[in-house]
Symmetry: C2
Subunit: 185 residues, 2 copies
């Protein structure tokens, strides 16, 4: 079954023709390792559903230091959601850790789909709410856990991430230096 | 206009009878300052829309130190959303900074409303997505900003919070000690 259909059907069943209609709102793009999906300052007309590969979003400060906001592997959504939603320039960079293939959904097409298909509005509500809860957990973790605890939690939640993402990038996600991370593992 | 109706109608218009129907899914409760809406270990059958007052959600560690996850003032939603959504025991405490009045919505009633009224599913999708974006900003801020920058940002976003919330609680939200906060302001 198509990866997107699997993801939607975890939440709401679709008929074949409904899924074909949903899929008609997306376009497919391939990116090579290190290529950018979004660069700071760009407008962000699309969000991305990962079919294959591994992608990261991050903010770079004035000294060139990266802060990783999010990873995305197969079946994850990624974008600069603030810029996408508010039609403002990106404050994040999004690039590929591996060669990647994504489905692209424009803001207009997402809203149109949600408007026309109650089922899709339900799907997007549920994934937004789950995402919200996951971010609350990450905030609590940043406030209250040690770097080692955050590392162990990430490893237990997403073991495959550690085979696909360089240690320096994991460190920038956890908010610790590469050296601190090396001492932990 | 009713505060809840104002909040919904920022996103989607409702007729009088639609709003009456929506409101019929809520119950009203009043709490005194320091009273708990949710205590760690409780089941969390409801989420809360604040009509009046000021409320906080937080996690307490084994040494009794608090980490503030969220504030809620008039027109904000609050709950232990993970426990509410997954029907698991609360890992947060939620209590009142001021005497408060809230509208309570059960999980079943929220899902029923979203199922019956596409408009309400749209409302909840939009507020979840906005909440998601705000939490991403807070994570970036925790990763990349100094405590002083986080303080200034919170002050500019929610100036009234500083008149209503004790400094020690603001410090626990920012992830700094009370003493560090005192040196900043």
């Amino acid at each position: 079954m198509h990866l997107l259909r699997q993801h939607i059907e975890k939440i709401v069943p679709l008929t074949d023709s409904e899924f074909d209609y949903v899929l008609s709102h997306f376009s497919t793009r391939k990116f090579r390792k290190h290529q950018f999906l979004v660069q700071e300052g760009d407008l962000v007309p699309q969000e991305f559903f990962v079919i294959k590969g591994c992608i990261k979003s991050y903010r770079m400060n004035e000294e060139g230091k990266d802060y990783i906001l999010q990873f995305a592997m197969e079946s994850w959504w990624i974008s600069d959601f603030e810029a996408y939603n508010k039609h403002t320039p990106a404050t994040l960079n999004i690039d590929c850790i591996e060669d990647s293939e994504v489905l692209c959904l424009s803001y207009e097409n997402r809203e149109k789909m949600c408007d026309e298909m109650h089922k899709m509005e339900h799907y997007f509500r549920k994934i937004s709410h789950s995402g919200y809860i996951a971010l609350q957990q990450r905030i609590l973790s940043l406030l209250s856990s040690t770097a080692k605890e955050r590392y162990d939690k990430l490893l237990s939640q997403y073991p495959t991430l550690f085979q696909r993402v360089p240690k320096s990038v994991i460190a920038a996600y956890l908010g610790v230096s590469r050296e601190t991370l090396s001492r932990m593992v």
